[in-house]
């Protein structure tokens, strides 16, 4: 078989770059450590531009395991951008608090490679391996601040629970293989020819009559599939931190170095959702009746638990952890809404999901970068420590407020427009109760976001001297914060071009369309 290696040059280049950074950092120990950070950021930026330019409108397939289409490319660019912002926000932080910067950046780059292959996978084993490479990079990154007990605790919890959930997930995949006899998502090649055995076709053709008619279950529900789906959803639920598989999230978020928290909450979530979306639309859509109830219940629980727990938090990182759990609930609505009367409507759900994902991630990076800038200066991350920030650093307080208002779904910002479209799709696809629940949940979230904003604007700075002095933000952080705030405004005020691009890319996830 001829393998067209030119299709996966971005992944190969990035993997090579990661090894290069890691190895040269070991070899050239006399070079200033922060060079590796700037070098990684530069490399990511160059690769981002080249990928965006050269792989536009590609629609091909690498060895029948990686789809190189617009969907993949959208996420390639997206992950590279997230990694870029994570690296920028990491430079000062790592300089102050971490050792061995080369390895740190190399791990970020490696995780990015695996995310890119994860979004591209159209075969279970490739997807699983990508997911594991990503998770392993994260286990190490979360514990990278190895002299800090919180960092170790978070890493250990994350790894133990992560390993357990991976096992469940793999078991689910093996059951799926047992039912369908294949690991390929969908058989339709880019050139439109039906090829080989594949999951989608097997699930669609599965004859309901093979079930014992005496069993008290609906005719389109297969017991084996139910078990497989429970295991798969549990595994994926862990990766996206959906309730009740969310327990690791607050500890990992709090313990991890801040740039890693940023990367984990933004890229980790985005990659898991890209995988979730491709798997559930390309392969498992014909079996929608067997998973939709499960995902719907999890989505509802995630929204409720995330928001209710967030109200009680006093630590900003933990607050953001629970807030990100709540946001996962909204995103899961998009997965549920894939189960629609027509394929066009399923595609609407996929489009809305990706749009909201991008809007949410941009906002989340903004908040975490702002938090990093604050933490670099003060070394504190409790909500109450933000007191008087509007006096000490008005620009940072302004950006924080933008981010938090956007997360709460207020207009002008990304959160409003993207959430509006996502909930509308839920209504359109007959999940009225879930959409209404999402609206209510995001109303509850306003309360805890306002409490953070209140600390910044209502109170005077506390403490004396250094603790209440004005301070400035270093240029790289200020620059990336400004770009991110611009993106949040742009997505809120003019999302049409991105929406169109996403709509074009998600069409490829529904081969029958």
């Amino acid at each position: 078989m001829d393998l067209e290696y030119e299709l996966i040059i971005p992944e190969l280049a990035l993997a090579g770059f990661a090894v290069l950074i890691g190895a040269s950092a070991l070899m050239f120990r006399q070079i200033k450590q922060e060079v590796w950070g700037y070098l990684s950021a530069l490399g990511l930026l160059v690769l981002l531009v080249l990928t965006a330019v050269f792989y536009m409108n590609e629609n091909d397939d690498f060895a029948n395991v990686l789809a190189i289409d617009n969907f993949t490319n959208l996420f390639r660019v997206f992950f590279l951008a997230i990694a870029f912002f994570a690296t920028i926000s990491g430079i000062q932080y790592a300089g102050d608090r971490l050792r061995n910067h080369g390895e740190f950046y190399a791990l970020i780059l490696l995780a990015t490679v695996s995310m890119m292959t994860l979004a591209a996978s159209r075969e279970l084993i490739t997807a699983y391996i990508s997911l594991e490479v990503m998770s392993f990079s994260f286990y190490i990154l979360v514990g990278f601040n190895k002299l800090n007990p919180f960092s170790n605790e978070g890493s250990l919890k994350y790894m133990l629970l992560g390993g357990f959930s991976s096992a469940l997930f793999l078991y689910g995949l093996s059951m799926l293989y047992g039912i369908t006899g294949t690991t390929t998502y969908s058989g339709i090649e880019p050139d439109g020819i039906e090829a080989g055995r594949n999951i989608a076709a097997q699930l669609a053709n599965f004859s309901a009559t093979t079930i014992d008619p005496e069993l008290p279950i609906p005719a389109d529900v297969r017991p084996g599939m139910i078990i497989a789906m429970v295991l798969i959803v549990a595994g994926l639920g862990f990766k996206v931190s959906a309730v009740p598989f969310h327990q690791w999230t607050p500890d990992a978020y709090q313990g991890a170095p801040l740039p890693v928290t940023l990367f984990l909450s933004a890229a980790g979530k985005a990659a898991a959702f890209a995988f979730f979306l491709r798997l559930f639309s390309e392969a498992l859509l014909p079996a929608a009746a067997e998973w939709v109830w499960l995902v719907a219940i999890i989505a509802a629980l995630t929204m409720i638990v995330g928001n209710v727990m967030a109200i009680q938090q006093t630590n900003l990182k933990r607050l953001m952890a629970y807030s990100s759990i709540a946001q996962v609930g909204y995103l899961l609505i998009g997965i549920v809404a894939l189960d629609a009367p027509s394929l066009t409507q399923s595609q609407d759900a996929a489009t809305a999901l990706v749009l909201h994902l991008i809007g949410y991630v941009a906002t989340n990076i903004l908040v975490f970068t702002a938090l990093t800038a604050f933490y670099n200066r003060t070394g504190r991350d409790d909500i109450i420590d933000l007191r008087g920030l509007a006096e000490r650093q008005p620009y940072l307080a302004f950006l924080f407020s933008i981010g938090l208002f956007s997360l709460a779904g207020m207009p002008l910002f990304a959160g409003f427009a993207t959430k509006f479209i996502l909930f509308q799709v839920a209504f359109n696809n007959d999940f009225l109760w879930l959409g209404a629940m999402g609206v209510t949940a995001s109303f509850v979230s306003l309360y805890y976001y306002l409490n953070v904003i209140k600390q910044m604007y209502l109170y005077e700075p506390e403490g004396e001297g250094e603790d209440s002095a004005k301070f400035s933000i270093p240029l790289p952080l200020a620059g990336s914060l400004t770009v991110l705030a611009g993106a949040v405004f742009l997505l809120g005020l003019f999302p049409a071009p991105l929406f169109k691009a996403i709509d074009d890319s998600t069409r490829l996830l529904f081969p029958g369309l």
Binding site: Q345, Q347, D348, T351, A352, A390, P394, S401, F405, M410, P411, L412, F416, F420, I421, F423, Q424, V425, A426, F427, N428, L432, G435, A436, V439, T440, F443, L446, Y447, L450, I453, K454, Y457, L458, F494, P495, A496, F499, K500, D503
Partner: protein, 505 residues
């Protein structure tokens, strides 16, 4: 006609806010000046729009439409568009916002604490309110509706007084909680219509079934009703108004509460007319309860701002009564009352602010005889009060007369309740004036100074329309009546009544 004017109306406050971001905070006067110039331009544009609205023709005018998202995903033709237009109902409300925003800027000249942030948020608030009155697309309508609520929290918490943390959080959560219902209603309408568009003129042509309309009408009516102070969802209003700084109270009681009543007309009556049969009488009854309950509560209060706050609840109750009649005279009266109450309550709050800044108390019983020190204050406050109790010759009379005339044929009992609460209004306003302004001068207040030039200018801006509408209501009635007649389900009554001088001008 020049639809671009409506866009200009949004761009002026928006642009002022963006410019404000760029100017450093230490130049307080630059921020004040920019805001003043901006709000003066807005006033000019809104007066022009009001004057040029052609009531002979009626319907939507100054129509302007830019596609925002269409033919992608769930959106079809005209999916979401920035569709701006005004009709005879929104024209006076646009004018109202122009007047109150200008007066509010004048009154806020004295704000010394972080003027930069204040004026940025103030302009965002004004832009949001203008947006709601001119948007003809459900997405943007709701966008602006939320935008108007967005800056409230910070405005109250940073610049407010008296229990501000509680008042601000309560206000914010109740208003956004109400908009959850509106949110759900909008989604349901979009899905039920199945046109893939949020364009309001197109949705108005859809005939929603009786069952659907009856189910979702309360989502709009209660959701918007929270903002309009609909009983029993009015409790944020007195607390919020007391906590808010002067200019924000003015905009809030003067304009923002009207957004709610306006929403009931735009979303409820216009889009779901089949739901009005069942629900509008309920609104009328709740309005009558709010009218009498607000008036009774105002009677008990000793804090000046609480008196005005409860009086707002009572007057918004009249608006709800007018809407609930579902006949031309009553609905006309409701819109007239929205305008009249807007300018009058803004004038109230402006004057209360000026005395509170000097006296640092708002306890009515602590004052006495201040007419000897602040005659202008008493004149403005007194005229606002007289308008509020419905003295002929001022705006309140025209509006309340319409509402009562409209209510008598449908619910005579509740018309009586309304008239009774107007009488109670007279009691508390006159008692208030008597305690504060007249009698011997309390020694504590010999140092009180007259209101400043800025407050005088703001007061005159607001007093002019009160008197104008009182003596010559025709320009208002002409514009409102033509659009009220076009509302679905509103019964044209009148006959002889329609030819009364006060109705025809």
């Amino acid at each position: 006609m020049f639809g671009e004017l409506l866009l200009v109306l949004l761009l002026i406050p928006g642009g002022t806010a963006v410019l404000g971001l760029l100017v450093p905070g230490r130049y307080g006067n630059v921020h004040r000046g920019m805001s003043l110039v901006g709000s003066f331009m807005m006033l000019g544009v809104s007066v022009y729009l009001f004057a040029m609205y052609d009531y002979g023709e009626g319907g939507l005018q100054f129509d302007l439409q830019y596609a925002w998202i269409e033919n992608v995903g769930i959106f079809k033709e005209n999916g979401i568009s920035l569709h701006l237009a005004i009709d005879g109902i929104s024209a006076p409300l646009v004018l109202l916002n122009g007047l109150v925003a200008f007066a509010g800027t004048l009154i806020s000249w004295k704000i010394a604490h972080r003027p930069k942030d204040f004026f940025i948020l103030f302009n965002v608030l004004v832009a949001g309110v203008f947006g709601v009155y001119v948007a003809q697309d459900l997405f943007f309508w709701f966008f602006f509706y939320e935008l108007a609520v967005l800056p409230m929290y910070l405005l109250i918490v940073v610049w407010g007084s008296t229990n501000k943390e509680y008042g601000a959080m309560k206000l914010m959560l109740m208003l956004v909680g109400g908009s959850v219902l509106v949110f759900v209603g909008i989604f349901a309408v979009f899905t039920e219509a199945g046109l893939g568009t949020f364009d309001m003129p197109l949705l108005r042509e859809v005939e929603f079934g009786k069952g659907f309309a009856t189910t979702f009408f309360p989502f709009f009516a209660i959701g918007c009703g929270v903002l309009a102070g609909l009983f029993p969802f009015h409790t944020w209003s007195p607390d919020g108004h007391v906590a808010a700084p002067t200019a924000v109270s003015m905009l809030h009681a003067g304009v923002l509460m009207k957004l709610g009543a306006y929403g009931i007309i735009r979303l409820g009556i216009e889009i779901l007319p089949a739901g009005t049969d069942l629900w509008m009488p309920v609104i009328l009854v709740l309005g009558a309860i709010a009218a009498i309950y607000g008036a009774m509560s105002a009677l008990h209060q000793t804090d000046l701002k609480f008196v005005i706050g409860y009086s707002s609840v009572s007057h918004m109750g009249f608006v709800m009564m007018g809407l609930g009649t579902m006949n031309t005279i009553g609905v006309n009266g409701a819109v007239l009352q929205m305008f009249s109450h807007g300018v009058m309550t803004a004038l109230f709050f402006a004057m209360v602010g000026s005395v509170y800044d000097q006296a640092h108390t708002r306890d009515i019983n602590a004052f006495g005889g201040i007419i000897r020190r602040m005659p202008l204050f008493v004149i403005f406050f007194g005229l606002a009060g007289l308008a509020s109790l419905g003295l002929p010759g001022l705006s309140g009379f025209v509006a309340e007369f319409h509402i009562f005339v409209g209510t008598v044929p449908v619910f005579p009992l509740f018309a009586a309740v309304g008239i009774l609460s107007a009488a109670i209004t007279a009691t508390y306003i006159l008692r208030l004036l008597g305690r504060m302004a007249l009698g011997p001068l309390n020694e504590r207040w010999v140092d009180l100074r007259e209101i400043s030039r800025w407050e005088l200018a703001g007061g005159l801006t607001l007093l002019a329309p009160i008197v104008a509408m009182g003596v010559w209501p025709a320009p208002f009635v002409d514009r409102i009546a033509v659009s009220v007649l076009e509302l679905p389900g509103v019964e044209a009554i009148g006959g002889a009544l329609a030819n009364l001088p006060v109705v025809r001008g």
